[in-house]
């Protein structure tokens, strides 16, 4: 099983809830942000838990705390599946259940199903080049809310409440001795979100219950290594996310889903394929937001179990 980062960016107090649902990155399963392909007619599933916390956020560019939020904890429980249609075409699914809970103040947290995500992933190019293999992948995805959670409840909202489409291009070079370098860039096209009032102020009045959620760019730079006969994988990722447009949270205002959200962060990930377990693996991820704008300065931990069934088997050489 090999899942990588599936990230979910959620407006929090207008800050991006940098809710990384960091999915495992290893073995033979795969994620929308790694370079792994499932073989045809195989299914892999993962059960993942991610906890994301912050007690400071950027109000515009001002890093601050807020006693009326305290520390905000966001738990995400997800089930993910990857299906190999052919060796070169995979489909992926993810369903997260999210809870938000502030440690301070008088606000109720929120909980519920968030957005269903679907991706199609294609291997566009693969070639042995020098001492390793160069691959190019393309990913197209779509996500949409699957419950009536309220997007207009920052920073406790479960998600952005809009349909999102994404396209991603990924380049990877894997040395034969197990080191890999991967770069990917994605564009997120967001639709409109519906809120429960017909007027809101961003930088001017808006006479509608529709919010145009800003589109976004997302880039990942990963360096990793396979160890112990390709049963253990570890990698480090530097990540840049930014919306295209959006507005800053004003002083002491609440955040909003159309804020200008930026975040740079790093992730460290370990994935282990347990030998002689017939396809079981474990995964762990640690993430930290380093710099941001209208997002929480969050720290996240993720852990999960991956399992592939049917005729799936570990295909590390596909890296």
């Amino acid at each position: 099983m090999k899942f990588t980062h599936v990230r979910s960016y959620t407006g929090m107090l207008g800050m991006l809830v940098f809710t990384m649902i960091n999915l495992p990155n290893s073995g033979s399963a795969q994620s929308p942000t790694d370079a792994v392909m499932m073989e045809g007619k195989r299914i892999c599933v993962a059960a993942l838990f991610n906890q994301d916390k912050w007690d400071e956020y950027w109000e515009g560019t001002l890093l601050r705390s807020n006693g009326n939020i305290g520390e905000l904890t966001r738990n995400t429980y997800s089930v993910m599946a990857a299906v190999g249609i052919t060796d070169k075409i995979n489909f992926l699914f993810n369903v997260p259940y999210v809870t938000t809970e502030p440690s301070g103040g008088q606000f109720k947290g929120a909980k519920g199903l968030q957005d269903l995500s679907l991706w199609a992933k294609l291997e566009l190019f693969k070639k042995q080049l020098g001492p390793g293999t160069f691959t190019t992948h393309g990913v197209a995805g779509l996500s949409f809310p699957i419950s009536n959670y309220l997007p207009d409840y920052a920073p406790f909202n479960l998600g952005l409440g809009c349909t999102e489409g994404q396209v991603r291009l990924m380049l990877q070079y894997l040395f034969d001795f197990g080191t890999y370098v991967r770069v990917s860039g994605a564009y997120f096209k967001r639709g409109t979100s519906t809120i429960e009032r017909n007027y809101y102020y961003d930088t001017h009045g808006n006479y509608t219950n529709k919010v145009d959620v800003p589109n976004a760019n997302h880039s990942l730079f990963t360096v990793g290594q396979w160890l112990f006969d390709k049963s253990l994988k570890m990698d480090v990722t530097y990540e840049i996310f930014n919306t295209i447009g959006g507005f800053d949270i004003r002083r002491q205002d609440a955040g909003f889903i159309s804020n200008n959200m930026e975040a740079t962060s790093f992730q460290v990930q370990l994935q282990y394929f347990i030998p002689k377990t017939n396809g079981f693996g474990v995964i762990a991820n640690y993430g930290q937001v380093l710099e941001g704008r209208n997002v929480g300065k969050s720290t996240s931990f993720m852990g999960g179990i991956t399992y592939q069934f049917g005729i799936c088997k570990s295909k590390n050489e596909q890296q």
Binding site: F107, A140, G141, Y201, T208, R251
Partner: protein, 514 residues
């Protein structure tokens, strides 16, 4: 590569679906110009004004006759201007329409929303306060909370109303016919009302509104100059007025604003945000009298709630606030209180989608134009669909906003007299889906504002009374759904608002405009 075709098509389908989901986000209400020629309120010059003691308190000189060379030169200028209008200028005309009261109301609501932000705490846990003398120093002045906003809406509407009564008086006194009647080659871009054009009602509205809003939102001076200039020009570009019509309207509007602002200076608002010792003494007095008091629950706590002395601000119609003060609320811990608290817990635990929607629809909290702003929008929608003349529009908005401000004053009197604690203070562990405002609980502001507004609007638009009363009840219930108020806060607020509206309507009924 053949097997890649399907995913590519899927991608294209996804993206085109998303693009088609993008919708226009309107930044203005979509009002359209309408003719009020059927009911131009030709006797409005004799209506009783709110602040002006006579319809000639502001002197407006007689205009040049329409046969004079001066007027003919103005007509020639007007025609030259009209024949060279840009697309932008035509759009500006359509934006303002021939009843710019609606746009100025919209602008006032937008400013209310823009300035409705509470000060952030200092690093040491204290809070700074806005200062009218240094409005651009953080926290910016004003903090347009509900008391500030309801007063702003009231002063704007009253000044507009008084200015238009005087405007209508001079129109029919001097009886200068409209440009289109003096030169058939002029085709107005907006419907003409077939009433005299001097002074320009559009320029009167523009100038009185610009002056009032500039005083109320001093940091918006430049923006309001632009809006005022645009609005006055729009009446020339529309072919409805010549320059001397505009100049007379401008003078009238500016002078009436001075009268209204003189009242505002001495109405007690300057002392409403009391220093901490006074705030503490009100709290102590309530504790000594009733055995309870409200404490702000924010972290760090705000030492003074919003405008403890707003209840002492000068009213428009209610002669004795204490005479309509609501009865003593149930003591926390009493059976009646416990029943109300249980209701809140139950609603909070099993909140329905419909209840959540109602709570959010009426939230009108920080960063919004407040419940009074919400009611102004209803009023404007109604004015537009009833095709009221500008002067009658102003009358509706004046009485509604006078009632809303008096409702606020009466509500605040009760709030700081009883100093009743909020549910988040009396009910340990109770959490809400909206922020609890920084002032005592009893009685509910939403309920008081809304019932006063609904009562006045129902008087002016009786066919819509059922709707307005339903809105008021929903606004009131929204606070229970959100966990912000006990039911007894809301019931008493609705009742109080109604009493305030009766006092306001008693004036409206004898002003000559019924």
């Amino acid at each position: 590569m053949k097997n890649l075709k399907i995913p590519f098509l899927v991608t294209i389908f996804f993206m085109s679906f998303l693009i088609s989901c993008d919708e226009d986000i309107p930044q203005n209400v979509a009002f359209e110009a309408y003719t009020f020629a059927a009911n131009p309120d030709i006797n409005a010059g004799d209506w009783k004004a709110i602040l002006l003691t006579s319809n000639e308190q502001i002197a407006i000189a007689a205009p040049n006759d329409v046969t004079s060379a001066e007027y003919k030169a103005e007509l020639t200028n007007l025609k030259n201007t009209i024949s060279n209008l840009s697309g932008d200028q035509k759009n500006i005309v359509q934006y303002w329409t021939n009843n710019p009261i609606l746009r100025w109301n919209e602008i006032s609501r937008e400013l209310s929303a823009k300035y409705n932000l509470a000060p952030a705490p200092n690093a040491d846990g204290s809070y700074p306060a806005p200062n009218a003398a240094t409005p651009d120093k953080y926290p910016l002045f004003p903090f347009a909370h509900p008391p500030y906003s309801c007063r702003a809406f009231a002063y704007l509407a009253v000044a507009q109303f008084d200015a238009l009564i005087s405007c209508w008086h001079y129109k029919f006194k001097y009886n200068r016919t409209e440009p289109v009647l003096n030169d058939g080659s002029i085709t107005p871009l907006l419907p003409n009302a077939n009433i005299p054009s001097y002074p320009s009602d559009g320029a009167t509205i523009a100038s009185v509104s610009q002056a009032m809003l500039t005083a109320l939102f001093p940091l918006e001076k430049e923006y309001l100059i632009k809006k005022g200039d645009e609005c006055r020009s729009a009446f020339i570009w529309a072919g409805l007025n010549v320059q001397s019509d505009i100049d007379a309207g401008k003078l009238l509007g500016e002078e009436v604003a001075k009268v209204a602002l003189a009242r505002a200076k001495t109405d007690g608002m300057g002392a409403a945000q009391t220093p901490k010792p006074i705030s503490d003494s009100l709290k102590q007095l309530a504790f000594n009298t009733f055995g309870w008091s409200w404490t702000n629950q924010e972290i760090p706590p705000r030492p003074v709630g919003i405008t403890p002395y707003f209840g002492k601000v000068k009213t428009w119609a209610v002669s004795n606030i204490e005479a309509i003060r609501p009865p003593v609320p149930p003591k926390p811990g009493s059976a009646e209180f416990n029943a109300a608290a249980d209701e809140l817990r139950k609603i909070s635990d099993d909140l329905t989608t419909e209840q959540r929607k109602i709570a959010n629809w009426w939230a009108d909290g920080l960063g919004t134009d407040t419940p009074p702003g919400h009611w102004n929008r209803f009023a404007c929608d109604q004015i537009s669909s009833a095709k009221l003349s500008p002067v009658r529009s102003a009358r509706v908005l004046a009485y509604m906003n006078m009632a809303i401000q008096d409702a606020g004053i009466a509500c605040w009197d009760a709030k700081y007299f009883y100093h009743y604690p909020r549910p988040i203070q009396t009910m340990p562990g109770f959490k809400t889906i909206l922020g609890t405002p920084s002032f005592p609980s009893y009685v509910s502001g939403h309920s008081t504002f809304s019932s006063a507004a609904a009562e006045v609007l129902s008087h002016f638009f009786p066919s819509q009374a059922v709707t307005f009363n339903a809105y008021a009840l929903e606004a009131s219930n929204s606070r229970i759904f959100a966990g912000i108020h006990y039911r007894f806060d809301c019931v008493a607020g609705l009742d109080l608002g109604k009493k305030v509206a009766e006092a306001t309507l008693a004036i409206a009924k004898v002003d000559g405009g019924e």
